[in-house]
Amino acid sequence: MNPLLALSVGLTAGGTFALFGVLLTIMSRLGKVVNFSQVAVGTFGVFLAIRLVPKDMQPWGAILVGMLVAMVLSILIGFVIAKWLGDAPVSTRSAATVAILLGLYSLANLLFGTRPQPVLAPFKGPILQTDLVNISQLAVVTTVTAILVAVGAKLMLRYTLVGTRLRAVSDRQDAAELMGINVMGLQLGVWAVTGLIAGFGVGVVANIQATDANSMITILIPSAAAALVGAFRRLDLAIVGGLGIGALQGLLTAFPSIVLLKDWIPILVIVVFLLWTERKEVWDVAR
């Protein structure tokens, strides 16, 4: 395959990584957690939904129900973390989501089996196909969603009262609480929205990228790498990172002799990036 074509094909996965990279970044900034269960709630929701929704109402009916299930799951997880790990450090809160990921992964295998799930695709085929490039509808949908979510989050944080309160909670939770801000409600709101979008994300890509529970991990890792490119703070860089990782992985399929390297791309991106951004010593606490 010619390299440019391979690269453009990789953007399909890249868009997914960008979307989940954005969600992870939002959770990190507003929820003070690296949410290892971010993809898992979406996957679980969609897998459950395709069993609840009649075949003729799929895929959109299933995606919608999947989003709702993912939202409920996400709120539950958020409740556990906000309620009992409210003051815990980020690493402890994140470790809890690792345990939840393990639980959801195993539960999904139990309930839905380990074989590929019969999910239908809402977006099929390319939007642009020439001899040189092939851009799928899915790549456009996921990337546009990622951009919309990022821009929406940015605008909301900057221009709305809820956004100001969210920033207050994220900066100084205790102070926000003393001002009478409903910290728990706001945090659960963040969990709800990210869960909803995770359900959408998995729903649209499920038939090619999330056919079994392994996707809870296989989508999460490159997405986390994308979020790391933005240091879990910058949404725009998370999108660039996600697309970049997807494109790089796609590009490598054009070189079969080094195909093993493809699986290591997210890690290499993280490593190179961290070595660059963390040249200077940083400390665990400010003082």
């Binding site: 556990v80 345990a99 790391l228 010593e281």
Partner: protein, 591 residues
């Protein structure tokens, strides 16, 4: 014989008894139980090895590592490769297995170091992302390249001619048990030693670790390397047990399960690693007997993991605290004030005069935080064997000054020299080695150690055990065997001062050391402080709000206000300066 020696000896005796007992149990299991149980028990021991490795990085050093079985896979893969495809597989006869096992573990450790390197300066969460990524990538790679046993369709030879008969399985169990006892003993001893202290210190506070002269990177890297090495051993032992392995034995989800189990039981305790291994192996076995799908085990582990994290305690912690309550052992340590009668209470001893040799010289230091000048052209000198007070209202820049001198703040203009040697470009741990030590306003004394362990770790071998005992008794600290978790916060700060004295620095920077002490303790501490230069040959830069204390111990004062030097010089003159009185004590002075 000192108390410490007696305690060490009885401890070593107990340690020896446990090792011998463990081996005796292993022999009994080898010959006394049905072969199926013996085979499963080997699995338990191999899992225990994995958990012990994870306990080092997760339990001791406080990092999240999600790739323990990847290290096992690497150990297994390399071991098979060496056994099948190189002369190493036969050249050492019955010992070839052991040689290849160790080499496989070394390669796993090297991989661990490579993986850990970029994450070293980062918080645990980034390490979690990286290790999870490595686990998943290795998983995919192994699915494509297979293990060498699959290329050749062979099984590797067990050590010392053990075959794969029922008797061979029993012998291999015994071999595994001996290896596990060796690993457990080593992990236990290392955990109690300097390296283990470093790991626990870095888990508690990176800044505290660096200020004690230990490189944070080395502490984390060594934990990760040791953990990966032990993980590699577990992989090699698995190969010896089942003969042929595949990626299925080392999947990412199983690594996640091990990690979660590690935080449930607290696998940095050896007994808990054993207990965790039993859970990890037997819960699925029991489920299998009842025809329940095995995935339920992971669901249960997930729930237990969340429970352990939300309650902020592992099963091992709970069992140990329960045992302590039963024994009513060392309920609380006496605060420093309880030792008051042992030290003299006189208030009038003279302030020691300096020899006049400048040691710490800070010249024209400016620190900017954006537009704000936190320090503005500040100069100060601490001469040999004097106590200089650094005072000023809140926000004047005192702690920024200490951070700058000790190397935690690197972006500054001006120069800092110690005994004529420039400190620019030296990290905090290097400056600590050169002889600049500090204490913190916050509690940076790890509660997981005893007073003695902490003192030894901080002293870096600069003080003998007898000297440490002497310093502890001089400061009226609890005895060396006291666990720090039962020492109150005020007394811990005095222990922190004592530990830094034991490191025999050139200059000791004390950041509000007397906060949290009662009035009487203040007086005693002031007296002890005053004599530090004379008694231990150490100069002191003291940040303190309590002017009584400052007045009684400092020969010279530097007053900071809004980042600049408001006044400096002889104590009495500075304290009479009307500008100082106004800035420092507001309008209330003179009322």
């Amino acid at each position: 014989m000192s108390h410490a020696n007696t305690a060490t000896r009885s401890h070593q005796l107990r340690f020896g008894i446990v090792v011998v007992a463990a081996l005796a149990v292993a022999v009994a299991v080898t010959f006394g139980l049905p072969s199926y149980v013996v085979f499963i028990s080997t699995t338990v021991l191999v899992t225990m090895v994995s958990l012990m490795g994870l306990g080092v990085v997760t339990g001791s050093a406080g990092m999240i590592a999600l790739s323990q079985l990847t290290f096992a896979a690497v150990g297994a893969w390399v071991m098979e490769y060496l056994m099948f495809l190189t002369p190493l597989g036969s050249v050492f006869g019955g010992f070839s297995f052991i040689v290849c096992l160790l080499l496989g573990a070394v390669v796993a450790a090297v991989l661990g170091l490579i993986v850990g390197l970029p994450a070293l300066r980062l918080r645990g969460v980034n390490l979690a992302v990286i290790t999870l990524g490595v686990a998943a990538a290795a998983d995919l790679t192994l699915q494509k390249i297979y293990f060498p046993d699959a290329w050749l369709n062979q099984r590797i030879d067990r050590p010392f001619g053990m075959d794969r008969s029922e008797f061979g399985d029993r012998m291999y169990f015994l071999f595994t048990a001996i290896v596990v006892v060796i690993i457990a003993a080593a992990v236990y001893q290392v955990g109690r030693g300097k390296l283990g202290g470093m790991w626990r210190f870095v888990a508690f506070s990176e800044r505290g670790t660096a200020a004690a002269g230990t490189k944070v990177r080395n502490a984390k890297l060594s934990a990760f390397g040791v953990s990966a090495f032990i993980g590699g051993l577990a992989g090699g032992l698995t190969v010896g047990q089942i003969g042929q392995v595949s990626y299925v034995s080392f999947q990412t989800a199983a690594s996640l399960g091990l990690y979660v189990l590690c935080i449930v039981v607290g696998a940095h305790f050896i007994d808990m690693a054993f207990f965790g291994a039993i859970l990890f192996v037997f819960i699925p076995e029991i489920l299998k007997q009842f025809g329940i799908p095995l995935e339920w085990a992971n669901v249960v582990f997930g729930v237990l993991g969340v429970q352990a994290l939300t309650s902020n305690s592992t099963l091992g912690d709970q069992i140990r605290s329960g045992l302590r309550k039963l024994k009513r052992h060392g309920a609380t340590a006496q605060p420093v004030s309880a030792h008051l009668e042992e030290v003299d209470l006189e208030r009038t001893s003279a302030i020691f005069t300096t020899t006049g040799q400048p040691l710490l010289e800070v010249k024209n230091v400016t620190v900017r935080f954006g537009e704000l000048r936190a320090l503005d052209d500040v100069s100060l000198t601490v001469y040999d064997r004097e106590v200089v007070g650094l005072i000023g209202p809140n926000g004047a820049g005192k702690s920024t000054m200490i951070d700058t001198i000790t190397g935690f703040l690197t972006d500054y203009e001006g120069t800092i020299t110690l005994d004529g040697k420039p400190m620019e470009g030296l990290a905090p741990d290097r400056r600590a080695h050169e002889g600049i030590r500090r204490t913190f306003q916050q509690d940076r004394v790890p509660s997981s150690m005893t007073v003695g362990q902490y003192m030894r770790l901080m002293a870096h071998g600069k003080s003998t055990p007898a000297e440490i005992d002497e310093i502890l008794s001089y400061f009226g600290c609890p005895p060396a065997h006291t666990p720090l978790r039962v020492v109150d916060v005020g007394s811990r700060r005095i222990v922190e001062v004592a530990a830094n004295v034991a490191s025999k620095p050139v200059v000791l920077l004390l950041d509000e050391p007397a906060a949290g002490l009662s009035h009487d303790e203040h007086i005693v501490f002031g007296n002890q402080l005053k004599k530090i230069p004379q008694k231990y040959g150490i100069s002191v830069l003291l940040i303190e709000h309590d002017l009584d204390l400052v007045r009684s111990v400092c020969s010279k004062l530097v007053v900071l206000n809004f980042g600049g030097v408001l006044a400096s010089g002889n104590q009495a003159e500075v304290l009479r300066d009307p500008e100082v009185l106004k800035a420092y004590m507001g309008e209330k002075v003179g009322e």
